[in-house]
Symmetry: C2
Subunit: 619 residues, 2 copies
């Protein structure tokens, strides 16, 4: 590790946003087909080269006449004209309309030379080869003159117009196949970090590799802001490698976005590259998450160095960069604020401007509740399970439960889930909701489920144990067999005591889980529980996720894992049963009327949802 660099003076988020807003918009023009131009911004004014229509057009079905021939006509004085032909739309008149004749004409057809009005069919009576007209019409009646829709030479659309179906229709009407629009800005996206691997390839867990998330999230966020992402892949956090990639991106793009290598721990490499070879305007923003943000230029090209954590990178992009891209591209902000009540109290010691990610759920009275979902900015999930953010000023230290908050939704298309289930990770419950759309199942353990039910957040809690709860309505219960998932090396382990005695390594579940509670309850029945726990190698190695211990066993990182029979079967591992545990789905009393809960009830009523799950039984 290089010497630690401290961030220079932090700037306010507004100042960082303004530094980015000061970058000049690219002004390239591209000519594209009209049919694909919706949402694009017209680069120059469009003048109509032709009249629309290009001819005097019948505006009604009826008879083309000379207006003077109808003089005096009325309901009591029919004027009879001989019919000399008929004209449909798209048909060329055969000749001049002679006096005292009429030509049958359809809406949209060319008014024949000689005619100057149309009597609509409702005011006529057909009599074989003649027509009786019951209305006197002045010249021009029911005729749309050439150019009446669009006149040649008229400037039809201004530069800067954001094109939409209806304006594209106008371009079609004047015969345009292509249209000059402002080019989408090219935004280079570079992820830095030796640990990053592109999704789709294999991971080396032992070497600490993880999949790169930022290229995906930033590229799609760039696209949502109307610009064009240009991917540069992942680069090791090596100064020369980053410099080379930044240079390539700066040569080709209108804006370069990097993520990572901005913190003191990574040697603040990006800051040094920009400070040494470019122009630095911002180094550090007074916001959480996202402090180590860099704004500047490299080789003249605007550059924003985002933090490496996915949540921080995306939040800072949305807050500071997206407004400028949207302005450059004439793209609407795909967000909307909604009012909600905060479900639980939030307290902060530190006085820093915050963007608090929250989930949204409708309570029984159909009112919106917001609940914090932050699992630490390193977690990919904290944004994925959030529906929006609540902005909090630096001086806000407490938000009380029930307090009214304004939530900026991430997308106008997002809707709160139809069903928010929280609690024990249980394959049986997962099977129950697999067929229900727009559900969210947060597996934070049975204890967490009970808390979220009590706090009025969860629609349904997934709990373990035999006790009914007073703050909810049990929809169904079932049982699952649990025990120890064993590797081939641990085939001899036939009891907890043998596990403690032998040279085996256990992977446990975390204390929030009902599975761990069941395991501890069994140990507590032994004569000296504490000694037994101390003797088990790995008893304190607790992992989240119902399958995680078994997967560690499967890949040889441990000999024995706490888990379910169903998981052991799925992974083809041996299993030592230690007990059977009851699982219950409990609906919050005020949410039983929600459609998502109703769908769940229907599924739970039919015990077939447990089919195929080894060790499961319906009650």
């Amino acid at each position: 590790m290089t010497e630690r660099q401290e961030l220079r003076e932090l700037v306010a988020p507004e100042d960082a946003r303004e530094a980015i807003a000061a970058f000049e918009a690219p002004d390239r023009v591209v000519t594209i087909p009209v049919e694909s131009a919706s949402g694009r911004v017209l680069a120059e004014p469009i003048t109509a080269p032709i009249d629309v229509p290009g001819f005097d057009r019948a505006a009604m079905d009826g008879y083309a006449v000379r207006a003077t021939d109808t003089t005096g006509a009325g309901e009591t004085h029919l004027v009879e004209l001989s019919i000399s032909g008929s004209l449909a739309a798209g048909q060329q008149p055969a000749g001049h309309l002679e006096p005292e004749t009429a030509i049958e004409i359809a809406t949209g057809a060319v008014l024949p030379p000689g005619a100057d009005a149309v009597v609509k069919v409702e005011r006529t009576e057909r009599r074989g080869e003649t027509v009786a007209v019951e209305q006197a019409v002045p010249p021009g009646t029911n005729v749309a003159p050439a150019g009446s829709d669009v006149a040649a030479g008229d400037r039809t659309l201004s530069g800067g117009t954001r094109l939409a179906p209806r304006t594209l229709g106008l371009l079609s009407a004047i015969g345009r196949e292509t249209v000059p629009v402002r080019a989408r800005p090219d935004v280079g996206v570079i992820s830095t970090g030796a640990e990053l691997v592109a999704p789709g390839t294999d991971l080396d867990h032992a070497a600490g590799q993880i999949y790169d998330v930022n290229e995906t999230t930033l590229s799609s966020a760039v696209r949502a802001a109307g610009a064009k992402p240009v991917p540069y892949g992942t680069v090791e956090d090596d100064e020369d490698a980053i410099r080379e990639t930044v240079q390539r991106a700066a040569d080709a793009c209108d804006l370069v976005l990097t993520s990572g290598s901005t913190s003191a721990g990574s040697g603040d490499m990006l800051y040094r590259i920009v400070a040494e070879d470019g122009e630095l305007s911002v180094h550090g923003v007074a916001i959480k998450p996202g402090k180590p943000t860099v704004v500047g230029r490299y080789d003249g090209t605007p550059l924003v160095g985002l933090p490496g954590y996915p949540v921080s990178a995306l939040s800072i992009f949305r807050l500071l960069v997206a407004p400028t891209l949207r302005r450059w591209t004439g793209t609407d902000r795909d967000t909307k604020t909604v009012d909600a009540r905060l479900a639980v109290e939030e307290r902060y010691a530190e006085g820093r401007h915050r963007a608090l990610p929250v989930g949204l759920i409708r309570d029984g009275a159909d009112e919106l509740l917001a609940y914090p979902v932050d699992r630490g900015s390193g977690a990919t999930t904290s944004l994925a399970y959030a529906d929006g953010v609540v902005e909090m000023a630096a001086d806000t230290r407490v938000l009380s439960a029930g307090e009214a908050v304004t939530v900026e939704r991430f997308s106008t298309a997002d809707r709160p889930p139809a069903l928010l289930a929280v609690g024990e990770s249980d394959p049986g419950f997962a099977a129950a909701i697999a067929g229900i759309d727009a559900t969210r199942y947060r597996t934070i353990g049975a204890r967490g489920g009970a808390r979220w039910l009590r706090d009025g957040i969860a629609d349904v809690a997934v709990l373990t144990g035999d006790t009914d709860r007073e703050d909810g309505q049990t929809l169904a219960t079932w049982t699952r067999e649990w025990g120890l998932v064993r590797s081939a090396d641990a085939a001899d382990v036939e009891s907890i005591e043998e596990l403690a005695v032998g040279d085996y390594r256990l992977v446990n579940r975390d204390r929030e889980s009902g599975l761990r509670a069941a395991f501890d309850a069994v140990i507590d029945e032994r004569s000296d529980p504490e000694a037994l726990r101390d003797a088990i190698d790995g008893y304190d190695v607790a992992v989240p996720g119902v399958e995680s211990p078994a997967r560690r066993v499967a890949r040889g990182d441990a000999d024995v894992g706490l888990g379910l029979r169903s998981t052991a079967s799925d992974l083809g591992l041996a299993f030592l049963p230690l007990g059977t545990q009851r699982v219950r789905a409990v609906a919050a009393t005020d949410r039983t009327g929600k459609s998502g809960v109703a769908s769940l009830v229907r599924t739970l009523d039919d015990a077939s949802f447990l089919a195929g799950l080894d060790g499961y039984a319906s009650d």
Copy 2:
């Protein structure tokens, strides 16, 4: 023309919308790259195949230690450990951490075997080859265990989730390159009408050809509703041709949209095809515009027959079809209602549900005004120049000026123009605003400009004549030379009298235009103005558009046209000057503070905007 068919019983718009909503959504699944999946709807639940992270990870920069080695450490009791190495993110630990040693570790790096906690760097002091620890840490401190972000086996996303950057990030985090999403419905788009020609090809005006607008507008509206338009081009309104194309589209698509051939005048062909060969559910909707709408199936495939007029087709699509496509595709409605005041009174005799297209403009107090823009549903421009619609119930007969109305904007991205200019079509004024973004210039003639100024709609009116107006502030005046644009055949015409005497055909401007007013004023000075007018062949042939008469001359449809010297020069035609007319740009008194007006003032202050316009002079 075939025998006229009357529409059957009209159904209410809600019933037609429901008939379309009853069509079953297609349920095909396509697997696409994660990077292009933003906005798509997940077809099935996604379960995490791996733990994220896949290893116990340092959550802070600092030193990996055995927690027991830090027992008793504090600010007054430093515990010194020897440093046995360092680990960066993405680096594989070389071996086990021995007791009473520490390994320098970066955030994101793998916790080395043997270590169970991280002391953050701020609580340590480096002393060459050793580190002094000033904090006792329990096991697990500053460690993110494997699976703490996403646990293997967890159902991470529910089917029906609309994917966004943050959820795509979650898919990347678990290593997905592709994702199963619901296929976009294929929507066949067929335009019918013998008069229709695809944009980009030449038009035969004499045969009454016009460019097809509906394929462009409907295709982009289909795309905006999240579905995939499949173009079938234009088809003559011939029953066999339509039947054949509808059959091909029905074979290949999830929904078929036709436009045209639905009215009595066109033989109601579409109705007959559907009624004879398919299933008809709706024939005629009680709405204006859009009455002749057909809903049914052809060969089992859902079909909606839209009216042929572009405005009607797009309005009916938006009102009746788009909601179902958006529901099928999980697409958000790209509209938003805004409150506005109606600028002028609207009256209706007929009691029919209406969608009134309106423009929006901000007045001097920054309040929104809505003004009707309908030029008749045949006009392409009426939608292009509208910003939204006001829905009016069938029993509403009058909307007063100043009345509060709710405007459903066509798109959330639309903004009222920065400058709304209304009045005389003048190439000089067009040149002045050519460089100003987001202007709208409605050339409805000097008379109309005066009306819109008086009604408080226009920001700026373009007027003709020498008189200042009390209800506005003149920003600039200039003069233009006007007269008669002559074909080679009319080279002899040297006066209005010669025009009247000879065998020449004139094309005049409409009475709303200031050009026509100037022409009439000159004629009125002659000894017998009425006789002179009567003697001019084509005096009553009045067309809209400042260039339209000259263009008719250019293409041989007339001998002489009323027009400007600048137009004659542009088109290379001879010109007989008859006078010089003053043009003035007059700002509404309350709008002089608007930014668009300020931009205009800057341009007008510099007389160079008239450069290159023959016959123009600044005052």
